[in-house]
């Protein structure tokens, strides 16, 4: 039995600004700003000034493009994003990645891209950083454990990198793998999951403009604990889909299995779309706790597709989301 209690403070669906309206507004504002800048009164570079910048712990990424992807919500502090997360390769506690990820060597780093494509090959992290425009994408991140953040990523659309390798018509899915090296990733000495960590997307999900490969956080290179040097970010899916420290990308015809799906198929599905109406077997997904909101803050309602429904809901029309969790 689901007991739904509506309180006066609850956000009604009608009150939530849709992403497309929001983007339109942003575009309107930006058009205004560039017209203004065009007058020659503001040549300082609006975009660069507005980019979120971290504490300077890691190398700054230059020439980051500002984008309209920024939810109208408080951005989670750098400190919280980098000290509280799941990255089982460094331990299963939330602060373990922060504590143990110092052993990871994110340079040099090569990603192998192969499978159903015409131009299989490799690409180094330096080429990814210099060969693709780096964009700021401020996204909500919703963990399957019912906590959430708002993260200012820096990265590139996954699709623009995938196209370089010319996937064929047989490429129906994209499979990703994390590095396996217990020397660098001490958590891999225990078989908590079946290493390497694996994830996958359907081709249309992978090519979707919201899907990015993140190279940075708060305008700086990704910290090791957050998946350096290159990780996936799929903002409308639970966080575990956003695989970290990627070394392999493969185009496949068959649907790949993801690590959590293999570990507990009843609890974690391939799609893992954020959905407040489909609960995890052991806890509710209706609400989420915002990291950084403090001890006495209320949970807030989780949005369908994590608030990105306008952009992605069409990908799943006709799909039973209760069965394809």
């Amino acid at each position: 039995m689901l007991v739904k209690i509506r309180r006066a403070s609850d956000i009604k669906q009608s009150e939530i600004t849709s992403q497309s309206d929001y983007l339109k507004r942003r575009q309107f504002l930006k058009a205004g700003v560039s017209a203004f800048a065009g007058l020659g009164l503001m040549r300082a570079g609006i975009g660069e000034a507005a980019i979120q910048r971290g504490p300077g712990k890691l190398e700054k990424i230059a020439d980051i493009r500002e984008t309209a992807y920024r939810p109208p919500e408080a951005i989670t502090e750098y400190e919280h994003i980098t000290t509280y997360n799941n990255f089982y390769e460094f331990g299963t506690g939330k602060s373990d990645p922060h504590r143990n990820a110092g052993t990871l060597k994110p340079r040099p780093w090569t990603v192998v891209v192969d499978g159903e494509c015409e131009a299989p090959g490799e690409i180094g992290i330096e080429d990814i950083l210099s060969g693709f425009p780096q964009e700021e994408r401020i996204y909500r991140l919703r963990c399957v454990e019912a906590w959430a953040m708002v993260v200012p990523w820096v990265g590139l659309p996954l699709g623009s990198l995938l196209k370089r390798f010319k996937p064929t018509s047989k490429a129906k899915y994209v499979a990703f793998e994390t590095l396996v090296d217990p020397e660098q990733m001490p958590g891999q000495r225990r078989a908590v999951l079946d290493w390497p960590y694996r994830e996958g997307l359907r081709m249309d999900e992978a090519m979707h403009p919201l899907t990015i490969l993140a190279t940075g956080l708060y305008g700086e290179l990704l910290p090791n604990q957050n998946g350096a040097p290159l990780r996936l970010v799929v903002p409308w899916k639970y966080g575990f889909k956003s695989i970290k420290s990627i070394v392999s990308i493969e185009f496949t015809e068959q649907r790949p299995r993801s690590s959590w799906e293999l570990a507990a198929p009843r609890e974690y599905g391939f799609y893992a779309n954020v959905n407040p109406e489909v609960d995890h077997p052991r806890w509710s997904q209706a609400r989420e706790r915002r990291i950084g909101s403090g001890l006495f803050a209320e949970k807030q309602p989780t949005l369908m597709f994590n608030g990105y429904a306008d952009e992605v809901a069409h990908l799943y029309s006709g799909l039973d989301l209760r069965r394809n969790y």
Partner: protein
């Protein structure tokens, strides 16, 4: 150890048992640079739950430890440990119901009804309430032999508590399994009832 010494020793032991709660209080209010971290609600609930289990195991260790060492005075600390297990469990429940769910009865009832790990934890909590309530000297006297029967509820409560922890974890069950192993050991030590010395002596003569 004489009753006088144990009475004196109870004060520092009592204060020591309060230390985890004190640290959590300092962390919750950010005193001396301490903090509960990025997800303070989760940290608070998990820490209180863990301490409740710790004290439950300590309580259950008293009797086997007394048997092994022959130190009868250990028994005089058992009630205090048991009550601390309940104290941390009560705070654990209040942190969940009050801080996390803000006493929203609908959500709490839904959790208890639909989330098996919460059902188990809540059942263990309910079982320990009468034990805490009947822990006074007066109640022990009034209940007589039924007191002992009633307090056997601590065994199923401890099993449910560890099970609750096991079901909460996502993939890394090492820690809950350590608790389960310790609990099984403590329960197994009770299965082999040593023949009381006096009886054995009598049968020999």
């Amino acid at each position: 150890m004489s009753p006088g010494t144990t009475r004196w020793l109870k004060v520092p032991v009592f204060l020591l048992c309060l230390v985890p709660a004190g640290i959590l209080l300092l962390e919750a209010f950010g005193v001396a640079g301490l903090s509960l971290g990025a997800n303070p609600v989760e940290a608070l609930i998990h820490s209180l739950g863990t301490w409740s289990l710790n004290f439950l195991l300590i309580t259950l260790a008293v009797t086997p430890l007394r048997r092994l060492t022959g130190q009868a005075w250990l028994l005089r600390f058992r009630r205090m440990f048991g009550l601390f297990a309940f104290f941390y469990l009560l705070l654990h429940f209040l942190a969940y119901a009050g801080v996390d769910q803000r006493f929203a009865l609908g959500y709490i009832l839904e959790d208890i009804a639909e989330r098996p790990f919460i059902t188990l934890g809540f059942a263990a909590f309910l079982m320990l309430i009468p034990l805490a309530a009947t822990s006074t000297r007066g109640m022990i006297r009034r209940l007589g032999p039924r007191w002992k029967q009633l307090h056997r509820l601590v065994y199923p409560a401890a099993i449910l508590g560890v099970w609750h922890y096991y079901w909460l974890v996502k993939a890394d069950v090492l820690q809950p399994l350590i608790y389960a192993a310790l609990l099984i050991l403590l329960l197994a030590l009770r299965l082999r009832k040593p023949t009381p010395k006096r009886v054995r002596n009598r049968s020999l003569t």
